[in-house]
């Protein structure tokens, strides 16, 4: 057996015989899928709830938009009190042709939505009553595949986060553990080159990443979750591999700086969690300030995430991989250089 192969095998076994590592690599992302699926998945939760008094064609039309959810109450005063309390963003009263809307300015986004929706419905009803043909017609349709549900966006994000976490942890822990237990010194006393040690760890990282992705996507595709892959989903494979290069380089950097497993775990968390939020892994970034979005442009997770959404669910082709690939590779080079500055074969 060559040194490269046997080192890879040793690292692979070391990893797969560690229950905690298996948990973090394979089960944790699935747990997140379940949790986030529950939070975002239920359809009613993205409708706006408003209090309603009375009845009429306007309310029927409003109900048909599918944007608001009605909660009938007996008196408008009660409803207004609920708005003041912040229980609902708005209340509406319909008495014949008189429609009254009260909203809480404290929740501007919701209030804005409710106002816009209601005034458009009112206008529509007015127009229909006048019997005139509309001067301008609007044809609106969503651009995504009509099957697009929460799971379609959640899967690439959580998967990217899971891959980043395990790739960084895995490679950092091997380095720290092998340095602490003097295995690195011992390897240094054999005719094996640094390149062989590093590349065998990289192979293990890529292998783990691919396995993790296959398992995760397979579970997400079961009817329970109902993920549907876009046509060129297999483009995710090269993207995953390039992504794992960047996370591996971060892992080597962490493993070079940290002196203990605990320190490596801490540093990894400090890197991965903020990176995950800044990369829009769990929540979309549209509402974040511009400078935060700019910062996120240099993060590898951001680009892995974007690329994965593009090829796994948006049905984009190979052109969607160009920017992520370029950024991920550049990132890898920079971080790998830093890691090589800090790397050492032994403590102190």
């Amino acid at each position: 057996m060559t040194a490269f192969r046997s080192l890879s095998v040793a690292m692979f076994k070391g990893f797969f015989r560690e229950r905690v590592a298996l948990f973090f690599t394979f089960l944790m992302p699935l747990m997140f899928l379940v949790i986030f699926g529950l939070i975002f998945g239920s359809s009613s939760s993205n409708k706006t709830k408003i209090d309603v008094v009375g009845d009429g064609p306007v309310l029927t039309a409003l109900n048909n938009t599918g944007i608001v959810d009605f909660q009938h109450v007996d008196s408008f005063d009660k409803a207004i009190a609920a708005v003041k309390n912040g229980d609902v963003p708005a209340a509406i009263s319909v008495q014949g042709n008189k429609i009254e809307l009260r909203y809480a300015a404290s929740d501007r986004v919701q209030a804005g939505t409710v106002q816009a929706v209601i005034s458009s419905v009112v206008d529509h009803v007015n127009l229909a009553a006048s019997g005139k043909p509309p001067a301008v017609t609007l044809d609106s349709q969503q651009v995504e595949d009509s099957s697009l549900t929460a799971i379609q966006f959640l899967t690439p994000g959580i998967l990217s986060w899971g891959l980043a976490t395990s790739a960084i942890f895995g490679s950092a822990l091997t380095l720290v553990n092998w340095r602490k237990k003097q295995v690195l010194r011992r390897i240094r006393l054999s005719p094996v080159s640094t390149g062989t040690v590093i590349s065998s760890r990289l192979l293990v990282t890529i292998g783990t990443t691919v396995l993790q992705a296959i398992l995760f996507i397979a579970v997400a595709m079961t009817p329970v979750f109902g993920l549907q892959l876009a046509g060129q989903w297999w483009l995710a494979l090269p993207l995953l591999i390039i992504g794992s290069l960047s996370f591996f380089s971060i892992g080597v950097l962490v493993g070079s700086i940290a002196k203990s497993e605990e320190a490596a775990t801490g540093i990894t968390n400090v890197i991965v969690l903020p990176m995950a939020f800044l990369s829009g892994t769990f929540f979309p970034l549209q509402n974040a300030p511009q400078w935060l979005q700019t910062v996120s442009e240099v993060l590898p997770l951001r680009h892995l995430n974007d690329g994965m959404v593009d090829v796994l669910v948006r049905g984009k082709g190979v052109e969607a991989l160009v920017t992520p690939t370029a950024v991920l590779l550049a990132f890898t080079v920079v971080v790998a250089f830093a890691a090589s500055r800090f790397f050492s074969w032994e403590d102190s």
């Binding site: 057996m1 060559t2 040194a3 192969r5 046997s6 080192l7 095998v9 040793a10 076994k13 070391g14 015989r17 560690e18 553990n177 092998w178 237990k181 003097q182 295995v183 010194r185 011992r186 390897i187 240094r188 006393l189 054999s190 005719p191 094996v192 032994e346």
Partner: protein, 302 residues
Amino acid sequence: MSKGSTIVADGLRKRYGDLWAVDGVSFTVGEGEFFGILGPNGAGKTTTLEIIEGLRKPDEGSVRLFGENPWPRNPKLLPRIGVQLQASSFFEKLTAREQLETFASLYGVSTATAVDMLELVGLSDKANTRENKLSGGQRQRLSIACALAHDPDIVFLDEPTAALDPQARRNLWDVLRAIKARGKTIVYTTHYLDEAEILCDRTAIMDKGKILAMDAPATLVRGLDAPTHVLIERGVLALEEARAIAGVEEAGDDGVSLRLSTRKPAMVLSTLAERGALEGLQVRGATLEDVFLELTGREYRA
């Protein structure tokens, strides 16, 4: 610097901060020799060994290992040396056999030798046991087997018997003798004086970074003009009588036995025999412990 010299170390010095961990160490080791570096903790044994292995750079002095300089890392030398570091270094979660096979493959040698080494150190029945499930003695033996996995010409063993119970230590001595029987040069460190005396062809006594004496253990002891201790059962002879025996320099009663110190043991023993006072006889010659005391003026403490 005879032709058969495997190691030639000359004037090695290594400093950590204000402390000279190794302070002018010179010695040679011949091919096939079992060379021991003996000394208390902090004497500088590990540092000396690591300089010779090429893991550390000496601040001063030079090393030749098979005629080559081990520093900076010299890939030509590496296949010829086997190293057991002071703290055992194992791949996490691998079994005994997997450890050996992995180490063997680092040198590109067949794993057959590796399995053979498992036999040599008496761990064949533990081949499929994970490293962390082995006892202290078994770990040390595995660690030695790993140092031998690529069949090197010289092995460096750093305190292989430290922290072992007496039985495990004795088992390990057999392993070390078996390695010597295979014609390997062995350089090993220990803080057990008795062990060095039993195992080594030659031993260097080290303290505070310096070699105080270096020779075959028996020669070191003989060269020491130390008294022999003759012990007999208490009550067989009165203390005053014992003191009066010709040749006895000192006599004492430790509550269990009478202890007579003499430089003429033959004379004292024959007198004791004549008087029929040999009950519970024990004769203790000088040991390396006495040598250490003589050299440093203080009691040996590992």
